[in-house]
Symmetry: C2
Subunit: 192 residues, 2 copies
């Protein structure tokens, strides 16, 4: 499997976290706005299968991503297949012609750092607030003990970085922004 292992946490004090990232040697990578469109499949219950299809716009870069179902516990570990496309609106139109339907948009501003081959991102998510995401790419390959052990190693790396950033284990979540936003909008509906 190639994909990603990821944890995220809501943050209260962005400036404090920025200082901690710097203190553990985090290198600034980039900052920018991301707009993520999520699509409903014409005949598959992607949500029920814990899969997702996302088209991301980040400046002039557009990426189409399939996310597989989450495996394991403690961290969000899933297959990710990504291709870059040259035309955002064209890709939306093409997906629509194939019966896909845009169902959700997530807008955020991301500031990205690299720490020990992991990506640490500070996200300001419209309608949700401030988060930190710690992510490692899972690349294909053989490790001692096979895939399960290899994935365990990726997970431990995430936890170790979270520890060094002073984020308690119990504040880490494996929920996606999509889920957080969806549960927020359903609870606000429930309050009406």
């Amino acid at each position: 499997m190639t994909g990603e292992a990821e944890v995220k946490a809501r943050i209260e004090d962005r400036e404090d976290l920025l200082r901690r990232i710097e203190a553990i040697g985090g290198g600034f990578v980039r900052e920018g706005a991301q707009e993520d469109l999520y699509f409903r499949h014409p005949c598959r219950d992607l949500k029920g299968r814990d899969e997702a299809l996302r088209l991301r716009r980040e400046g002039k870069n557009y990426t189409l991503t399939f996310k597989g179902r989450r495996v394991g516990k403690g961290a969000k570990i899933r297959e990710e297949l990504e291709v870059r496309v040259d035309d955002f609106e064209g890709m939306v139109a093409l997906l629509e012609r194939l019966g896909f339907e845009e169902v959700f948009v997530i807008k955020k501003r991301r500031r990205e750092f690299t720490v020990d081959m992991a990506t640490v991102a500070l996200d300001s998510v419209d309608g949700l607030g401030e988060f930190v995401e710690i992510e490692v790419m899972i690349t294909a390959g053989e490790g001692e003990g096979g895939e399960a052990k290899r994935i365990e190693a990726f997970k431990n790396k995430l936890f170790s970085i979270a520890d060094r950033l002073g984020i308690p284990r119990e504040r880490l979540t494996t929920e996606s922004y999509l889920e957080l936003l969806a549960s927020k909008s359903s609870s606000s509906k429930a309050l009406r």
Copy 2:
């Protein structure tokens, strides 16, 4: 609608046609191998709807194209939506995860010329033989008399170029290579 209007014809004498293209001022554009993968949709009968999803590899260029159903008669006129992608194998894998299935491959060598804003392509198609395709892009826009009249004008342009290349009207076909190959393989099955 943005898309293409196209006619093709089987050719007997490639050298003669090359001379005719030159004689009417055709400018050489490029020559290269194209590999076209066609996909079955997970829940839509694309063939029945006269639609198609194609992923083309041409050197290091990869294009994903949705083709809408053919409209009108005499020329193949259809909507085309195209995006370039940066990873051929990645796009195949992504489509497969979404339930699309590769059903047909067409390989050809194309030599392309431009004649009066139209594209004239000499194709050597694996398993089919030599063809010429004359194609104009249909761009969005308002013309006198609306879409129907505008499309009629594109069609007449194709016919006029075919005339100038000495290709009789009755030899022009609107069938796709996909159809020609499919009907060839079904007729060879019938012969068994």
